[in-house]
Amino acid sequence: MLRNFKVLTPSSLNETLYVINSLKEPYRFLCGGTDVLVRLKDNPNYTKVLVDISRLSELSKIEEHKSTYIIGATAKHLQVLAYEPFKKNYAAITDAVSVIGSPQIRALGTIGGNIGNASPAGDSIAALMAFDAEIETRSVDSNRKIMLSDFFLGPGKTVLAPNEIITKIIIPKFENYRSAWMRLGQRKGMAISKVSAAVSLHYEKHSNGSLKLNDIKIALGSVAPRVIRAVKTEKFMLLKQTINKNMINEATEMLLAEVSPITDVRSDEKYRRAMCGELFREIIEKLVLK
């Protein structure tokens, strides 16, 4: 049985900011509980203080603005899945969120939690990163916007200060982009990804049948200490512009030079590297050639 910790239950964002600013000891946010409670049951010393933010309704909405979509940090995975504009234009995000945990987990877990957890395998992270998502954080005396690709320092580590909280995930609007997210896991349900990749791109077809790439964003999970953007490969592809088999082959080679996977319980370095290339190739072919 869990015991020996206390739970603070602020009822508004301002109260939360005040609480975390005055807390002297280390604490953890509790919202969905799908990670925090599992760790706490496993290790009684995981944390002595929980700050339960599940009742902060001001952070739980998904909204459309003029040039952005804003996901509140405590929005559940299920809410993201049900949000119509994402289904149409942000397929990578729905692809990724639809396989997180199980239905029972997706009804509890939150997007802010998936990000704050900072797992190199966090499923929603690569998909959001492939859309240049930004994180908004708040503290009693600050309000920061941080690119998601700059938010992580390593496994479980972020640039978040002890008195800061993630409040929003901001996704710019993209017109006529296509995107997809794919992963390799042990099985379909309740699996942690061995490798995952998300790509969003914009291209046009010329009258002579050639395909011209206008923009591409590539994000990769579980192949580095944090989810990464393959910036060099993106630049290379934009320079080449014309999409064909040859270009995809060269880009895949380049991509493999950008990743640094490890061997762990789920998979080994060699396999991860090989599969990262294959996932990338499959996504590009799905988005462009088919």
């Binding site: 020996n4 945990g101 199980s102 029972q104 379909k188």
Partner: protein
């Protein structure tokens, strides 16, 4: 899951919290230790022992209940997050006439062996059949992807859900 490394040192007096929520349409108002999960409250305080504790980590689905319309793992809902929620357990579902065909189909298809996963399976099936009147095999697998069964091999559970859907659509 019971706590690892449990020792006297960890067994300090705990704080209690007041929780107010609904279980099976009944108002519940309780003071419980702050480490209690929804599953602990159901089993230890309310004696609704249909929901089981399997893994205690949200993987097995034996503790599945419906909270505000969605199936959740009740072992991962801490009591402090419960205020204002509406919870429907297997005991509540049992009295809905729409659940009877599901339960009958589970028995008829021998979708039950040891029975430990069954309450969770029935809760997930009930939620699934509310969403999809005529679920495909794929929708059933997806709907049950958070429920583990180590006896049946799932085939008969899937059969039972198809059978229940037929009965419900009559």
């Amino acid at each position: 899951m019971p706590f690892k490394n449990f020792s006297e040192e960890n067994a300090k007096p705990f704080e209690t919290v007041a929780v107010k929520f609904k279980v099976n349409d009944e108002d519940i108002s309780l003071n419980v230790p702050c480490h209690y999960t929804l599953l602990d409250i159901l089993r230890y305080e309310l004696r609704l022992t249909g929901s089981k504790e399997g893994c205690g980590m949200g993987e097995c689905g034996a503790c599945t209940v419906i909270m505000d319309g969605d199936i959740v793992a009740s072992c991962l809902v801490l009591c402090t997050s419960l205020t204002g929620k509406k919870v429907l357990t297997i005991e509540g579902i049992k009295s809905d006439e729409k659940a009877k065909p599901i339960i009958d189909a589970f028995i008829k298809a021998t979708a039950v062996q040891c029975g430990f996963c069954t309450p969770g399976m029935v809760v997930s099936s009930y939620a699934l059949l509310k969403k999809h009147k005529n679920p495909t095999n794929e929708q059933i697998m997806e709907g049950l992807s958070g429920n583990l069964c180590r006896c049946t091999g799932y085939v008969r559970i899937v059969d039972a859900i198809h059978e229940a859907a037929k009965e419900l659509n009559k």
